[in-house]
């Protein structure tokens, strides 16, 4: 048999629990648009009879109210792992697509200002010289359009090396960010472990822990595993970067010096592991991995092909030019171009219009057959078109991959949001429920109060 006041206590427990539910709902609403916030849910638990009754007591088996058994954070670790993986892929592809799009913009093809157009103009100037070998205007046109070809090669080479410079700066900054995040994550892990041990709510800490792990994944493709003490371990390429409360560090061991300049070798990464084992060279994914791939493969390949084209253009033209006789009667004539790469090719310093070798040295005079040979020596069009075509295809395919990946990551984000996101409607429903339960519990109190009033003030009044 329960005591007269037990219902009052039951109502009180309901008031307290509904208060908590309302608090949780209001926190959810307050953070409805906070980045990385995971929806909480108040968990209620029936307060039943004592499991082991005292000697003469007996349960009435009705129960004695409700208690809050904690606040649940609505996450699914599996989905979170998936989110990190897809985000890492997305940031890899996005970084690559952005960089390639910028380089592509600098190619200026097809159009009137690229290498292709400069080659056309140069060939035209040479043909005009064939028609008028004695004309200074035609000669100076040849020299200046040769300079335009050299310039357009230079501009493209500079464009590619500028992009490489940007990527190096970006890689350095990302590396710094990775190490900062690793340190912060280790510190957060420590606080979570402590807080959990003394029973404090760790939801907010876990939100920021998950966000740091996600950011690390986006930067490096790092994988994360949850620890039993609530913290999170992070590994890059399988090598531990953060282990509990200790953080290792990521180092760029080759390819980029501390000032952001290239040191001539491919970019390589090493992790100094958190657990003190030996340093390990790792392959990095995410946006840092994309920068490394651009710096090690994509940009150098493009530049090497462009260099090859510029070099064969210069040597073909020089061979043709030097096989002829210039307007001053010199044979072999002065070389037209110097430099053996796209970045360094230029018209020989001091090359004047009378140095153009229009004539065959065996004929001389007003012969212009050598200018014709020079025009025929421009044979790099095909190679250049192939290069642009190949690069265009690369850019198009990376953009397409990035779009596909975006569809995938959006879907994964949606399933995470389904679970962890705050629905205002749902919270409103929760609030209304809590409010009504609160009112009902208050009514229980009033009812018990009236019952007690009846019992105390109105019983034993017979005959009065």
């Amino acid at each position: 048999m329960s005591g007269s006041f037990s219902s009052l206590n039951t109502a009180l427990s309901a008031l307290r629990y509904q208060q908590t539910a309302l608090d949780v709902a209001s926190t959810n609403i307050a953070n409805a648009s906070t980045d990385g916030y995971v929806r909480r849910r108040a968990l209620g638990q029936t307060v039943g009879a004592a499991a082991a009754p005292a000697l003469w007591s007996r349960s009435n088996e009705v129960g004695s109210g409700v208690q809050s058994s904690g606040v649940e954070r609505m996450v699914d670790p599996l989905i979170d792992t998936r989110v990190r993986r897809e985000h890492a892929r997305q940031s890899f592809l996005d970084t690559k697509a952005d960089a390639l799009t910028r380089v592509e913009g600098g190619i200026a093809e097809p159009g009137d200002s690229g290498v292709s157009a400069a080659l056309i103009d140069f060939r035209k100037a040479l043909h005009d010289l064939v028609n008028a070998p004695g004309s200074d205007a035609a000669r100076s046109q040849v020299v200046s359009s040769a300079a335009v070809v050299a310039d357009s090669f230079n501009i493209q080479a500079r464009n590619v090396s500028d992009e490489a410079g940007d990527q190096r700066a970006r890689a350095l900054e990302s590396q710094q960010q990775v190490n900062d995040l690793a340190t912060q994550l280790a510190a957060t892990n420590k606080i979570i472990a402590t807080a959990k041990a003394n029973g404090t709510d760790t939801s907010t800490l876990m939100d920021s822990r998950d966000q740091m792990a996600l950011k690390l994944a986006e930067l490096t493709g790092a994988t994360a595993t949850q620890r039993s003490d609530g913290g999170m371990d992070v590994a890059i390429g399988g090598v531990s970067l953060v282990k509990g409360s200790t953080a290792g560090s990521l180092e760029i061991t080759a390819g980029i010096d501390s000032s952001g300049a290239a040191d001539g070798s491919p970019v390589a990464f090493t992790v100094h592991p958190a657990d003190g084992t030996a340093d390990t060279v790792v392959s990095v994914e995410g946006s840092l991995g994309a920068s490394a791939e651009l710096l090690n493969v994509t940009l150098p390949n493009y530049l090497a092909q462009l260099d090859g084209i510029a070099q064969s253009f210069a040597s073909d033209l020089n061979a043709a030019q030097m096989g002829g006789q210039d307007a001053n009667g010199n044979a072999p004539a002065k070389a037209l171009f110097t430099g053996n790469s796209a970045a360094t090719i230029q018209v020989t310093v001091g090359f004047t219009l009378r140095d153009v070798a229009a004539a065959d040295p065996l004929v001389g005079g007003s012969d212009s057959s050598n200018a014709d040979k020079m025009a025929d020596a421009i044979t790099v069009d095909d190679d250049y078109q192939r290069l642009v075509n190949g690069f265009g295809s690369d850019v198009a395919s990376v953009k397409r991959l990035s779009d596909n990946q975006r569809a995938m990551s959006t879907q994964i984000d949606a399933s995470r949001e389904q679970l962890a996101g705050v629905s205002i409607d749902e919270e409103t429903v929760n609030m209304v429920m809590a409010q009504h339960s609160y009112e009902a519990a208050a009514r229980v109190m009033t009812t018990v109060d009236e019952m007690l009033d009846t019992l105390i003030n109105r019983t034993g009044m017979v005959g009065r």
Binding site: A32, S33, T101, E104, G105, I107, E109, P110, S116, A117, L119, I120, R123, K124, H127, D128, V130, N131, A132, G134, S135, V363, G364, G365, S366, D367, S369, D372, D381, Q385, R386, V388, N389, G390, F391, G392, S393, D394, V395, A396, K399, T410, D413, A414, E417, Q418, G421, V422, S423, I424, D425, E426, T428, V429, V432
Partner: protein, 301 residues
């Protein structure tokens, strides 16, 4: 389903729609469907190839213009050379009729022959764009000159630069045409030139050497035939150049239209596209405005 899922979806949808509008707008404003190689890599290559061939065809047309200039100049000059040689032959025939003519009249004819000779020398030095058209590849300004420069009574020598290829112009892929004629082919080989014949004729007229005059009549006839033959050949070359030019003009035009097909925006299609994308974008905006606003709160008192 949560509010932020809705807004993310709405945002994504709007951005996609706006991206499509931007694409259609870019195609309309630049007038080109290929604005960077990745828009259509093979199309971009085709466009580059066509541009390059187009430039070549334009160049062939320009080369042809230059060639026609040379050839017309040569043709006109040869017509006047023919006239002058014919006139010299007439004079020779006149001089050969010795019966009616006194030495004074023959001297007068000899003087006219001298004039014709000088006229022929200046024809032989005709230039096109400052180059003597009968001088081969010479860098100088004259094809023929007197042995003693300035003395028109001395022998006339070819001072041009002969070359088996001569002055050539490329008028089509791999097709070159010679646009000059070398002096000796027109005026005769050294020591057997029309100038030598005229000198001999003038001398025969002055000395009354009838046999000399008669042989001059014959050699001038040979000279005239040679010039006419060269002129016929020039005409044939002109024809060839003009035909090549019209082919080059045609192919430049057809290349231009292919380039436009590959590279340029189909305005009607792009305008319709832009309209459609715009409607889609507005629909996305409208839907977003409707979806984002209400929540349960709007319906609770």
């Amino acid at each position: 389903m949560t509010q932020s899922m809705l807004s993310h979806q709405a945002l994504g949808g709007m951005q996609t729609a706006m991206g499509r509008v931007a694409k259609a707008q870019e195609q309309l404003t630049t007038g080109r469907i290929i604005n960077r190689p990745s828009d259509d890599p093979s199309g971009a290559t085709t466009a580059m190839r066509i541009r390059s061939s187009m430039a070549m065809q334009d160049q062939y047309v320009r080369n042809g213009d230059d060639a026609v200039g040379w050839l017309n100049q040569a043709d006109g000059t040869l017509t006047s050379v023919t006239d002058q040689v014919r006139r010299a032959r007439e004079i020779a025939l006149q001089g050969a009729n010795d019966g009616a003519m006194g030495q004074d009249a023959r001297d007068a004819l000899a003087t006219e022959i001298d004039q014709i000779r000088q006229g022929l020398v200046s024809s032989a030095n005709t230039t096109y764009l400052d180059r003597p058209i009968f001088g081969g590849l010479t860098a100088g300004g004259r094809a023929y000159d007197y042995q003693v420069p300035g003395d028109s009574s001395t022998q006339v020598d070819f001072i041009g630069l002969s070359d088996p290829n001569g002055v050539v112009r490329t008028i089509a892929d791999g097709a070159k045409v010679r646009v000059d004629v070398e002096g000796p082919d027109v005026f005769g080989q050294p020591n057997d030139t029309v100038f030598d014949h005229l000198t001999a004729l003038a001398a025969s007229l002055r000395s009354g050497n009838t046999a000399g005059i008669t042989s001059a009549v014959d050699s001038l006839a040979v000279d005239g035939t040679r010039v006419t033959n060269v002129q016929a050949e020039i005409g044939a070359r002109t024809n060839r150049v003009e035909r090549a030019q019209s082919v080059a003009t045609d192919s430049a035009l057809s290349l231009k239209s292919s380039l436009s097909e590959v590279e340029n925006t189909d305005l009607a299609k792009a305008t319709v596209d832009l309209g459609l994308q715009n409607v889609a974008y507005q629909a996305a905006l409208g839907a977003t405005a409707r979806v984002i606003q209400p929540s349960l709160l709007d319906f609770l008192r």
